[in-house]
Symmetry: C2
Subunit: 335 residues, 2 copies
DNA sequence: GTGAAAGCGCTAACAG
DNA sequence: CTGTTAGCGCTTTCAC
């Protein structure tokens, strides 16, 4: 063949109009049987494949969705991507990767891509709305927030219950007999950090346990910050016997700090993380942590967004995906 | 405003033809100065943004590139994505994520996306060419292979020198005084595994060291396979004093196996990995490994692909990015 | 240096 | 159930 076949070529060959071909191929159910199969056969034979740009132009859609994260380099997102990619693919959508690196310019740019029709919608995981950008009309249907809450924003959210997860952690530790439990929080005032910390505080209160001064150290979700925070905790006069870190990286940092100070995990100190990132089970000792069902979150977020985009389900709501605590080797009864 | 402004609206407002607006905005240099600035101002004022689909249809381009991996869930790719995303973004391109999961159907589908003009090109990191798909014309300019070699295929490759990296590992271990060095290889006959293993064998030969039977165990690049392989090695009558694993996951698995058997790392056994994945330095002990400059690889691959797509540099070649060994805590002289 | 006209390939009205 | 017509918004000849 000379050129890629267009719809017109098939029409000519089949002796019908382009419209009919279009209808036959799109499965609209508006073409009768002798013609239908014939057109499909010819299309297959000629290796026809619709021109996406033309279709997009005509339908004013792009069949693609932006997934916006703060840092593509963070492995936590991996399975979210995976779940989302899967769901998108099943629905014939593509995923565009967007990495903001906390750069307001990029945040705004990606948002603009949606308002300008470069993508049909977006899954936002940065935890904030960009400034200085054109908020698309009908934003509520085009933007879905995952993992983070954006308070006061009228979007569908797909999140986990951070407070409840914290509660599970404390319950586990208390169950082991711990009474002196410290917390390494994420950066405040980030919503996620606040919720995990609030869950910690509430759970401690519920179990009638005091939270001594300095038992809450603020980290930055980084390995180094966890290390440092743990060092501070271990230098306290009245050391904790267990530490609940608000994410796995900080938990790993804490483990290093503890080991460096000659402690044995979990004998001398129990440590719990949050996220269950890749290889959390490969660490020695394997990390006890909160497992977030990332694939599920990604899939759910994408499906929900697509339902909004197609108008199939315009209802704005907050969907909470359950988490579970995975008990591995970094927690044990206190000595 | 009622609608998103189109090029025509600007033309009307500026009292020129759509053509002129198009030229002015595309920076073609074909519009004279009084008009030029005026058009640009009006466009900015009206919040004009070109319709991508229309442009794509007209220019027969999509300004997007597929990045195809075997498993999006593998953190190794993270910084490659990051580097590639960055480079693409700078050039005005978007990235479409493609996850094959070793499914031939998906491999073919993604390839077809390129032949069908859904994406302009692709960076292929799966290490194999799909069957049963339409190989796009002018493939050589549209497909770029990264990380893996596809022998006999006439594409630009962006790779690392796996053999040389293996050599660095052995050199390091020999420098520490090791003589009994074992290797946990990746799955054979995958090219990457073969090259790393060949590098191991050649380096050992070069240093005049024998490779006893069973000193090369075949793994599957997974944590579990590393654990198992290490166990086998440690059960040999004449145990190795050092193990070189073909990737970090297997190295971590090996560490667990060794610790489980009561060995202390690195005192009783040195272990080296490959890749320097996320948190390889967060492990206790921190992993000695080969660092692949992933961002650099991603950026280079993308830039090179774009140069091919634009015709700026059609030369097909193999680009080798240098690696370095990062010496951390899992290697020490043998006792 | 600027404009008129054509058309990328497709699908959605609107008829019949 | 099928065809005719129109047009999505842009860029690119070609003419002036």
């Amino acid at each position: 063949m000379n050129h890629k076949p267009r719809i017109k070529d098939i029409a000519v060959k089949a002796g019908v109009s382009p419209t009919t071909v279009s209808r036959a191929l799109s499965g609209s159910g508006l073409v009768a049987e002798p013609t239908l199969s014939q057109i499909r056969d010819i299309a297959r034979l000629m290796g026809y494949y619709p021109n996406i740009s033309a279709r997009n132009l005509r339908t004013q859609k792009t069949m693609s969705v932006l997934i916006v994260v703060r840092d593509i380099g963070n492995p936590f997102y991996l399975n979210i991507f995976k779940g989302a990619e899967n769901a998108a693919r099943d629905a014939g959508y593509s995923i565009l990767m967007a990495n903001t690196e906390d750069d307001p310019k990029k945040e705004a740019d990606y948002f603009d891509m949606v308002s300008h029709g470069h993508a049909d919608g977006m899954i936002l995981m940065t935890g904030k709305m960009p400034h200085q950008c054109q908020i698309p009309e009908d934003t509520a249907q085009k933007v879905l927030i995952a993992l983070e809450m954006i308070d006061g924003a009228d979007f569908t959210h797909v999140i986990i219950d951070n407070e409840a997860a914290s509660h599970k952690v404390i319950e586990h530790l208390v169950g082991l007999g711990h009474k002196k439990i410290a917390h390494i929080s994420g950066p405040v005032p980030e919503g996620m950090s606040i919720r995990r910390r609030a869950g910690f505080e509430n759970a401690m209160a519920k179990f009638g346990l005091p939270i001594p001064q300095d038992y809450i150290q603020r980290g930055a979700f980084s390995y180094q910050s966890g290390e440092e925070a743990c060092r501070k905790l271990l230098q306290l006069d009245d050391r904790p016997t267990a530490i609940y870190a608000a994410n796995d990286e900080m938990a790993f940092g804490a483990i290093r700090a503890a080991k460096t100070m000659g402690l044995s995990i979990p004998r001398d100190l129990s440590i719990v993380g949050f996220d269950d990132i890749y290889l959390a089970d490969g660490f020695v000792p394997a990390l006890t942590t909160i497992h977030q069902p990332c694939m599920e979150i990604g899939r759910c977020a994408m499906n929900r967004l697509l339902a909004h985009l197609t108008g199939e389900n315009p209802k704005i709501e907050t969907i909470t995906i359950p988490t579970e605590i995975i008990i591995r080797e970094t927690t044990a009864p206190p000595v």
